[in-house]
Symmetry: C2
Subunit: 213 residues, 2 copies
């Protein structure tokens, strides 16, 4: 189910987990700061991962280096340009990253149904002052890290009645309030049911047309 | 008008402007990255500034170190805990930082009118690959860096009819579409007129009550 290159990447990272410690040094002029803030840490881990993967001889490409404006994915991996997304969160808190922009995802899934097969490589970290440790790493499909919610069939970030992003489940929890979806179809169904409730129409027909085309 | 400590800080920084170059190094395990992304750069500059100011013996306090949950300000300066906000933007683009959350600002100005006297220290930077240079620094009051807009008397960030943040003017432009406000009163008037248009009511009376109290 997961791309074989993703699985190799996960194995290599997990074997080295004990050594995955570090941090951020920010310098201007003669003043250096060991950074304690966590703003932008997700972007740093994503950029670090690309360098790490190349150094470890994995087949990886950054869409930005191919001159593509980048909505998705974070990286292409393997010989067949498989889609890989990099996410991260502080394991002392609940996962709060954006899986994807809700409306963009509905549109792109209808037009490019293969996006649903993207691998998600997720870094769990702790930040103790300025000391960063990677504490866990997961390889997941989107339906394994998403779930329903009180308000919509798919858990999303909603502010003042506007849906912004698809938000993750606490997939590793033993007794979560909402369990993750059992399979791809359950996720797609929840996605388009949410779009139907939200917009009064959805992209399901277009999606079905494109997966059977 | 500006706090005397702010003026000294501005002078010291501007005299050293040619040397204000640096960047971000992010390391996990044995892989270091010279960071090229700009996510979180505003937070890094803000954190760096606090360390720089202490090293240069300016009177500065971080509200976080005083155990305050931090809505504003970024720093207290001088002997009388004057409010100092730190902002930054890429000078190859237009300023796009948030001056403040719109609704929080309306509420806090009504309750704590002295907030309007806050100094804003603004860092203009360029990021060339992983090489960061501070190219300009300004010291401003909020009415000197805000302006009207097509939609509202005060320029704000509006998404799907929801106002999120107060957004800056291009205050240094010679021929801007909208000029900055002439004085504090023009800004306050635009702020509460915008709130009136947006919510059908405003905090102007509460503000006036508190500035005359």
């Amino acid at each position: 189910m997961y791309n074989s290159e993703s699985i190799k990447i996960l194995d290599t990272l997990k074997k080295d987990l004990i050594n995955l410690k570090g941090g951020t040094i920010f310098k201007i002029g003669d003043v250096s700061v060991n950074v304690t803030g966590r703003d932008g840490l997700g972007g740093l881990i994503e950029e670090w991962f690309g360098v790490w993967a190349k150094k470890n001889k994995f087949k990886i490409k950054n869409p930005k280096d191919l001159g593509k404006s980048q909505e998705f994915p974070d990286y292409y991996i393997g010989g067949d340009n498989f889609l890989l997304e990099i996410k991260s969160f502080d394991t002392d808190r609940s996962p709060n990253f954006d899986l994807a922009n809700f409306e963009s995802y509905c549109d792109s899934l209808a037009k490019t149904p293969s996006r649903i097969e993207s691998d998600y490589l997720i870094f769990g970290y702790k930040l103790d002052g300025d000391k960063l440790s990677i504490t866990n790493i997961w390889l997941k499909k989107i339906w394994e890290i998403s779930c329903p919610s009180d308000r919509y069939p798919l858990k999303t970030q909603v502010k003042r009645d506007v849906i912004y992003n698809i938000r993750p489940a606490t997939w590793y929890s033993e007794n979560p309030r909402y369990k993750t979806f059992k399979n791809k179809d359950e996720f797609v169904d929840a996605l388009f049911k949410t779009q139907q409730l939200y917009k009064g129409k959805n992209n399901k027909d277009l999606y079905l047309l494109n997966i059977t085309a």
